[in-house]
Symmetry: C2
Subunit: 311 residues, 2 copies
Amino acid sequence: MTSASATPNSLLVTGTIGIDTVETPNACVNRVLGGSAAYFAAAASRLGPVRLVGVVGDDWPADHRHMLETLQGVDLRGLETREGGKTFAWGGKYLANMNDRETLFTELGVVADRPPIVPAAFADSAFLFLGNTHPDVQLGLLDQVPARTLAVADTMDLWINIARDSLVRLLGRVDGIMLNDSEATHLTGVRNAVTAGRRILEYGPKFVVVKKGEHGAVLVHRDGVAVVPAFPAEEAMVVDPTGAGDTFAGGFMAHLARSGNTDLDTMQTALSWGTVMASFTISSFSLEAIAKANAADLAARYQRFAQLARV
Amino acid sequence: MTSASATPNSLLVTGTIGIDTVETPNACVNRVLGGSAAYFAAAASRLGPVRLVGVVGDDWPADHRHMLETLQGVDLRGLETREGGKTFAWGGKYLANMNDRETLFTELGVVADRPPIVPAAFADSAFLFLGNTHPDVQLGLLDQVPARTLAVADTMDLWINIARDSLVRLLGRVDGIMLNDSEATHLTGVRNAVTAGRRILEYGPKFVVVKKGEHGAVLVHRDGVAVVPAFPAEEAMVVDPTGAGDTFAGGFMAHLARSGNTDLDTMQTALSWGTVMASFTISSFSLEAIAKANAADLAARYQRFAQLARV
């Protein structure tokens, strides 16, 4: 946080743009648009403008670019194409329960060379989401957004295992962290999600969002705790869970950005927006369902969720 | 349902009164008051009167009887003491995660001889909860409460395995069924809780409550679906999960009974009351915490839950 002032309500996401190959018990798709930043941006763009920072190779399919371009509100000036490089590619297979999955391959491609750079036009971003990557890379990106109001990072087991010190440094510099329940347990040794969240607060962030997949999420904030169930989806509605967590993050961050608030009450509503976004994402492969959801669809789903989950 | 009329708002529970021996990673207790009907009645009595039907042996400790007697609102006229018989006893050990448990022993005692009988004074009960036992026994008890407005049954894996036909008959005659997510999957072959619930509705009941322990519960009703998270308890708050499901049922049924309604909206509020009751139960061994919770404690916890879980 420097003396430079941020553009109010602006939201920036850094992360992967990927080419996904996904197999489920019922269907499969080959080389569709995926990656954490693509999913995040698609969801966030449903609520307001979002700036995307990422990198692709020159093998990146034109229709993937077209898909992101037609999503109104996604600013692609931070998307770098590296000549001669290969786009990040991921293949996964879901088991019959649609929750457990195997990774079939991960080809880092251009992601392994060097990190993307935040363009000067995006340096004034107020809300920043650092998609999952090496925490040292996340720290470098963080420094390129000096006027930020709120920075939130995602992480994964790999970094807890091989870059724990860097991850701890990152936790001391971001405002929030978002991770799965198994990752929160891995990081803290504590199985209980609330208590694991409290331990993570000791590293410095103001809040932790522990994602529990089909069981919802828990927000552990310095000012209190909040809990949200997942949208109770029927089996037939679940086509492909890929990207559910990234679009949850996109809905969460975009609601904070558009409201311009970062208090606990706003974050609680943001959890519900994340849940609504994820409920669209799982109902199709790739970004198809979330991209098609218009304002009326979103409002109806939000209202339905508020009714289903009222206490 | 016959032409005899039920006493409005009356609630009857049938189930076990047990002597529990429980070991957790932090502590253990020996021969404390337990059993599904005891836990249910303790929770239900916090919201209104409840009639208890069960059976104990003459070894039943006087202080266990005293505990139930001091719970204002538990009518013990349906509690039979069998001379020369032994009270149902259960021993269990919780693993470090406080969710998985091993049963160390189960001594059926008087429960194995013959079922309890609903006394004539209780035959006019409006709301009936059939605690877990052989479905044929549950059917026999159901017939003894002919004026009922709403009957709900609990069940377990054992009966799905060895008495499936009887269980299916029971499902055709009760209004609702309450079971764990693993049991719902076992019964239907479907992992998704909402879809499993829908399959169970095909056997006849109007609604199914799928309990997910620390992840809350899902209500699948002919008129719609509702979902509730569990109270986000800190690790230090969880002393002993035994009885959480039974007190969840007690709070749920007691709210329906006192309101006199069985519509989806009332059931949704009832889910929250069940959640509140379970949150007290897990914070002590035996019935200690739930028995001590007074009206102000309950109202405060309910309000806190409504705040934590608002969407």
